[in-house]
Symmetry: C2
Subunit: 667 residues, 2 copies
């Protein structure tokens, strides 16, 4: 048990305030806490020994700096979440029968923890089962079971768990170093570690530490959901069942978090997509293949028009290419060898000249580059396409718009000279920020992936890479972008920049990417005539700052909770006459709005104004324009704004002006 290093019969411990305490050799964290005072002895959960968290029951090494960890800080909360995770695992075994369950991993996460389970009898945990598990957890906590650490050699551990036929544990143990620690739960009132784990006790491979006993878990928890998760995140491994739990040290914090989750669930773009009639999935077309309904298609079209106009201003040229290409094309590009698993099955027989559904637009754009002899005068050549691509994602991984099988990439390929690389990067960063600001997704972080120094699997020239990486970083700095450098995270063909946004519910989403590519120009033998008449190889930049418009829409719908700003709203104004007497004026107003380019719903049903307003609110229409006898008399319109409520009556011109400003300022 190695670390009780008593010098003589005393150990000397430094406390966080600098004071030193001397205790008998073999004194534990619990002894230290008791020595300081009975209050602390009661509150103590673990100790921090020279920066390492340890069980209270372990002897303290001489000369260490030690602080007592209680339940009121971040460290203590994380510790309690970890111990509560063990309690949940034990509860699952108790509820379903311990012999049927094998444990995966059970780490803490932001706001709680999860645990992965595998059932030898193929049981599926249902949402309805969660209450029983929660109840059993309460009993375990009330029973005040002790967490007991046990250390064994790797050989012993493999023997024990091999005998239990547990491939998961054996796989983990094989990667660890001696000694291997386990935690088992012992009944309240027992003493020390020598009580031993009997056959019934809960035990798991665990680095620790834990709170002394389950009774010390002063936590508020809630089991949230069950989801499939591949063992170690690898889809070639068996699918386990992951139970998620929220867990906090005070009731208010749990309540707030559950409120956030409820809000996120309300904002779920799949729900809103159905409610607001934005998009539709059907098995007859296929999973992961969204059909955009008129309203969703309208939002998408407005977004694309906006992006196109911004790109045009910045010298991009639009092209348009087929959704298929000969297999040969993807062999030349290398996608067939590196990316085949993500491609749909071929159209036709491989031997007889098959076609492939394109998983990326790049080879087609390269063919456009090759369609003509190119001169340095034409560079940078920026070919842009809102190109729909198809990828054969596993159907289990599809989820609303955020992971689909067919999606439209805001794609562009820039063919540049080495001298143009940095300016083009800056241009892309500027464009992305401009657009994300417009979408109020203004919390953006960039992640610069640089060359993997360890691997030799990269193409291009070392000095080109180093220059490009330095220039990208410099560009991020100059643009004042929030960014981190992730070493070794580049693709094999060049350094890259990924964009991550944080949404209104404080969740992070990775969107698109900018990647330098030395590989495709080589594979397709791309050239341009330089100023001196020599043939040179251009560099390609792949640039899809939003990645997939479908994914962006999924994130954005949740970000704005389906309440699109006026410029994007599928319907901008609902025109509602109070009675049929105002129908002629209502028609006139609707026409005037449409002629000004606005999208109008004619709420001309013969019914009271109340339901009309309520429907507009449910459909999240930004404005309801109401015409009653008073408005007709005064040549005004009463306007209800989705955000500001009832506005002062205004002239038609003022209302048109307000709308024009909303659209022009994109708000």
């Amino acid at each position: 048990m190695g670390d009780a290093t008593a010098s003589g019969d005393k150990v000397s411990i430094t406390l966080p305030d600098g004071s030193v305490r001397t205790l008998g050799a073999g004194a534990t964290g619990a002894d230290l806490a008791a020595d300081i005072g009975p209050g602390l002895a009661k509150a103590a959960l673990a100790v921090d020994v020279d920066g390492e968290l340890r069980d209270l029951s372990r002897p303290l090494p001489d000369g260490a700096t030690v602080s007592i960890v209680k339940g009121d800080g971040e460290q203590g909360l994380d510790l309690m979440r970890h111990s509560t995770a063990h309690v949940m695992a034990q509860a699952v075994m108790d509820v379903f029968g311990s012999s049927t369950v094998r444990l995966g991993i059970g780490p803490t996460i932001k706001n709680g923890f999860y645990y992965d389970f595998d059932f030898v009898d193929d049981r599926h945990i249902k949402e309805e089962d969660l209450a029983a598990i929660e109840a059993r957890m309460g009993e375990i906590i009330a029973a005040d079971q002790r967490f007991v650490r046990e250390e064994v050699t790797r050989e012993q551990a493999l023997e024990t768990w091999g005998a239990r036929d547990d491939r998961f544990k054996c796989e983990l143990i094989a990667e660890l170093e001696d000694p291997i620690s386990f935690y088992f739960n012992a009944p309240a009132g027992t003493q020390g570690a020598d009580v031993g784990a009997d056959g019934d006790a809960f035990v798991d491979l665990c680095l620790g530490p834990h709170v002394p006993s389950t009774g010390r878990l002063k936590v508020f928890y809630k089991l949230l959901s069950v989801a499939g998760a591949y063992w170690r995140g690898d889809e070639k491994n068996p699918m386990m069942q992951r139970v998620y739990a929220a867990c906090f040290a005070d009731k208010k914090a749990l309540k707030k978090h559950l409120g956030n989750l409820e809000e996120a669930s309300k904002r779920d773009h799949r729900k809103l997509g159905k409610q607001l009639k934005l998009f539709h999935f059907t098995d007859r077309v296929g999973p992961g293949l969204p059909l955009w309904l008129p309203r969703g298609a309208q939002v998408l079209e407005t977004l694309v028009d906006f992006l196109k106009a911004e790109q045009r201003k910045r010298g991009y040229q639009t092209v348009s290419t087929p959704h298929i290409g000969r297999l040969e094309l993807y062999k030349t590009s290398g996608h067939w060898f590196n990316y085949r698993d993500s491609m749909f099955p071929l159209l036709g027989d491989e031997e007889l000249g098959a076609f492939a559904l394109k998983p990326m637009n790049c080879p087609h754009h390269v063919e456009i580059y090759k369609s003509d002899a190119r001169s340095y005068r034409e560079l940078p050549l920026r070919l842009a396409e809102f190109g729909t691509v198809y990828r054969y994602e596993k159907s289990g991984e599809l989820g609303g718009l955020k992971r689909v099988r067919g999606f439209t990439v805001d794609d562009a390929h820039l063919f540049v000279t080495p001298d143009q690389l940095q300016d083009e990067f800056k241009g892309v960063v500027e464009l992305v920020r401009m657009v994300l600001n417009t979408l109020t997704l203004d919390s953006v972080e960039a992640r610069v992936g640089t060359r993997d120094n360890v691997s030799d699997k990269w193409v291009g020239e070392l000095d080109q890479w180093e220059r490009a990486q330095a220039e990208i970083i410099e560009a991020c700095e100059e643009m004042g972008l929030d960014f981190v450098v992730e070493e070794g995270e580049a693709a094999f063909y060049g350094p890259k920049l990924d964009f991550v946004v944080t949404d209104a519910l404080d969740r992070e989403w990775q969107l698109g990417t900018v990647q330098v590519d030395y590989n495709l120009p080589e594979r397709f033998d791309l050239e341009y005539t330089a100023k001196d008449g020599k043939r040179e190889r251009p560099i390609m930049i792949h640039r899809a700052p939003f990645g997939s418009l479908e994914r962006l829409m999924g994130v954005y719908i949740e970000h704005v909770a389906g309440a699109f700003p006026v410029w994007l709203a599928p319907v901008q104004v609902s025109v509602a006459p109070l009675t049929d007497d105002q129908l002629p004026a209502a028609r006139e107003l609707a026409t005037a709005l449409e002629q000004a380019g606005h999208r109008v719903h004619r709420s001309f049903e013969n019914e009271p104004i109340g339901p009309k307003i309520k429907r507009a609110r449910l459909e999240k229409i930004p404005y309801v324009a109401i015409l009653g006898p008073r408005e007709i008399d005064s040549s005004t319109v009463s306007v209800r704004s989705r955000e500001e409520g009832e506005l002062d009556p205004m002239t038609w011109d003022d209302f048109l002006g307000r709308l024009a400003t909303d659209v022009a300022e994109r708000r």
Copy 2:
């Protein structure tokens, strides 16, 4: 030889002027002409006997009304073209060896004729061979060979041509009725039909008639081209070689026609597409799969935006759907059973739930209809999509943009009640005419296809069909549309309307179609709640007035010879400073134009103005805006218009105004 029906020893013939002539029994057309006068005897080529054209050498029936056909009218020209076609066939046999050639058909066509040949030795006629054939034709005409008609029984004919192992002739003969007529060529100076066809004489199965002898062919002809053509137009049959010839009775007419052809060849959209950098084909992507280069994509986008705006005004709603769907979808729609040959091979295995690349957008739009419960209040529901579809055309039939494997349909599906059908048809006709007028393709004919009375392969209710047909015809009449009714040309699922335009070179092109469909609503069990609360079946209208945008572009590029009007032109203005001194002003002007939304080329090369103007002309840019010292001094710009040449210098504002008008008026 059956039709010499002498009553006694005289026959009595009525001439076109009403006069009657009496000739000896057995008198022929030639005898009649000679009887009228020696001039007519010399000019006569054939006779029109009671509306049927016949050889001069055939006896005239008693009591017939007969007119003498000379070479100066349409009838005579058609006759000469037919006889010249035989001369060409004989020349081909003489040049390549008669034993190697088998004849297909050789009809006259507008402006000339063609003949189809099959070579047992797999020879291919080359363009270089045409001169030798033409020369041989001259010799045959000079030799004044007689055209001799011979009639045999079908049995005899099958025996003769069966012995020659000629499947083409045998196939035709088997479908004819006794007697079967042949024409062979006999040497000049021989008499009558009993000279017989010797082994060397040219002979072909032919209804006739012909001119008396090749020497009577006062024609000017030119062999134009050789093209592949399936026997009887069926791609399952062998491919023959079709030689096209122009043929006229006077030299001027031939010259004018050849001039037209040259113009058409200059306007060939494949040539212009390359020259103007509009689109590109490459084998690596695949035949029939156009890649739109920036300039072509720009034209297409402007066109689509225009169409979208016009559709929006008319209550269409845009949707957007994937390019693939589960095979199941196409089984439900019936495409898999009826349209499979035109579909690309499946993605994946049929048994394991394959996907298909969509050949049509309808099933996807039907799924959108089905995504919600529908009420009569929502109808007519007009779902529109510029949807790209893929059809597996045989690679031999692909040609530029006019026949491709991937194309974008200006598609819409209207879900209507029976009462709405006629108005919706009118709406479509109005839209098509408005758009075609805008494109100066203003010569439009509509073809109404009605139900096949003979076949019983149609779905729906008879009274629905009849009402729909009557309403479509009435709609065409009310809209003042030029239309014809083609009985039995409807699809099995409903009546239709096809649009055919005539272009600047007087060629007809079929574009899109409007089709009523009673079938898909049935197959997909579509419903809406009627006013009385009952569930009713809507009618679908498939509507793609331009069919394929690619095809429309191909036709349109040739129609305007690549000189797009200002509103469509990929580059609208080339700004060209005289010297570098005017560069700042030129930049300013270019920016002002761009801010006004125009597409500008900066012709800022340091070179004389001449080449700049020439390049703009070659690129068919509508305007060149020239800035020299004089223009700077007077704050003007000198403008060269593509159509009007040099314009008076004008202020920048006037030039901007002119451009704005051009765009607004779409010219």
